[in-house]
């Protein structure tokens, strides 16, 4: 085969490989988050973050508006500090609240943000004051059992042997 033919063949091969990479990146993976559009950082403190993980989505009204960047524990208040970045196009009032929710019955956990009513918006680096922790199934069951016991014992659980 001529030198030119070989060079054309190699050029096609390399282009085909790059096209495959582009296909996998764009169509079969989340290249959109790699675009790192303009974001601002917001933190929120939760008493219990449940199974929340870094890179979980942040949603408002079900629409993904950002991602969680890191999760740490505040050593003084013993609360989980969740840092998230939200796209700059979405501004929220200062008194917005954050909840940890679960997608479906067994799905992943994410942070849902509900807009408040104030005029001023959350600034970059601000902290969301009103938060609602993740629902921990064990606590829920414990509470239910306690209520049952209280009902059965007529308000005196220690009456049982």
């Amino acid at each position: 085969m001529s030198k030119k033919g070989i060079e054309i063949g190699v050029g096609l091969f390399v282009l085909l490989g790059l096209a495959a990479l582009l296909f996998v990146a764009l169509k079969a993976a989340n290249l959109t988050s790699f675009g790192q559009a303009d974001t601002y950082t917001v933190t929120a403190r939760f008493d219990n973050i449940g199974g929340l993980k870094a890179r979980a989505p942040v949603r408002a009204a079900g629409v993904v508006i950002g991602r969680i960047t890191s999760i740490s524990l505040d050593p003084k208040s013993f609360q989980g500090v969740v840092t998230m970045e939200i796209e700059r196009g979405y501004q929220f009032p200062k008194d917005s609240s954050a909840k940890i929710l679960t997608a479906g019955l067994l799905g992943d956990q994410y942070v849902g943000i509900e807009a408040g009513g104030e005029i001023d918006n959350l600034a970059a680096g601000a902290t969301i004051k009103q938060t609602q922790s993740a629902v921990v199934l064990e606590n829920l069951i414990g509470q239910f059992l306690f209520n049952k016991a209280a009902d059965a014992g007529g308000g005196a659980p220690e009456a049982k042997p």
């Binding site: 390399v14 495959a20 996998v24």
Partner: protein, 259 residues
């Protein structure tokens, strides 16, 4: 005492072999710049190593994608998670099967031909003739092939993954009737460009270096006889396959140990 001595001799011999290969590798890295200056040689080798392997890689990728989609469907449909079919196929291809199966095929398709070619060059004393003409055969013969292998392998692996995902799409959407929108959106939600795709590319680059180096080393160090070349070709496949599988475990443990 003889038993202990034989163990010691074996360990020493294998260590010596390893050291010899390492010195050879360092020498090869040293002459890479010379090969890069004559890039035409590398292009010719990419054609021989990469382009010529394209058909078998694409055919295997497609059939692996087909079969994975069919088999995973039977497991997933039990849990009502058939929509995740694309995700399962995508992750297993991009993270593991793409780099590993491509490397195994690459060792069989390109590695053997490299070993046989260089082994015969050595048997025909072409390498010795080059040295007599003050041409370093490592720079002229080995380095272009090494670079070509290291370039071709990641491209082949990503092509394998891409065609496999397309094959899974054909089976899932065309044959089984999974919604095409769900098929792609679940993948886009869960597959991370750096963590999954990027690490897969890093893996395949490492495998490319391993396979090409093993093939070149076996060819260069072969006994200059027909039996020697045959033995070296066999060893190329065995050693590169084992090295790829072993290295894959190490890389997977390093890359994906955290969920």
């Amino acid at each position: 005492m003889n038993f202990v001595q034989s163990i010691g001799a074996r360990v020493l011999a294998s260590l010596q072999g390893l050291g010899h290969a390492a010195i050879f590798f360092a020498g090869l890295l040293g002459v890479l710049p010379q090969a890069l200056r004559r890039f035409g040689l590398v292009v010719t080798q990419v054609y021989a190593i990469g382009n010529r392997s394209l058909v078998i890689i694409l055919a295997s990728g497609l059939s692996v994608g087909f079969v994975l989609a069919l088999q995973m469907y039977y497991a997933l449909v039990t849990y009502g998670a058939a929509e995740s079919l694309g995700l399962v196929v995508n992750l297993s291809l991009v993270r593991e099967l793409g780099p590993v199966v491509t490397a195994l095929l690459f060792a069989g398709r390109a590695g053997t031909s490299l070993t046989a070619e260089i082994g015969l060059m050595k048997a025909g004393e072409q390498l010795a003739a080059m040295e007599l003409m003050a041409i370093d055969p490592r720079a002229r013969v080995l380095a272009p092939r090494f670079i070509a292998g290291a370039i071709s392998m990641p491209l082949l692996a990503i092509l394998f993954s891409a065609i496999g995902i397309l094959g899974a799409w054909v089976v899932a959407v065309g044959l089984i009737g999974i919604d095409a929108g769900n098929f792609w959106s679940i993948q886009q939600n869960k597959v991370d460009i750096w963590r999954d795709v990027g690490n897969g590319v890093v893996k395949s680059a490492v495998f490319g270096v391993i396979c090409t180096f093993v093939a070149l080393y076996q060819g260069y160090e072969t006994q200059a006889t027909p039996e020697g070349v045959a033995y070296a070709t066999t060893r190329t496949v065995v050693i590169s396959s084992l090295a790829v599988l072993g290295m894959d475990f190490i890389l997977t443990a390093l890359m994906f140990s955290t969920p």
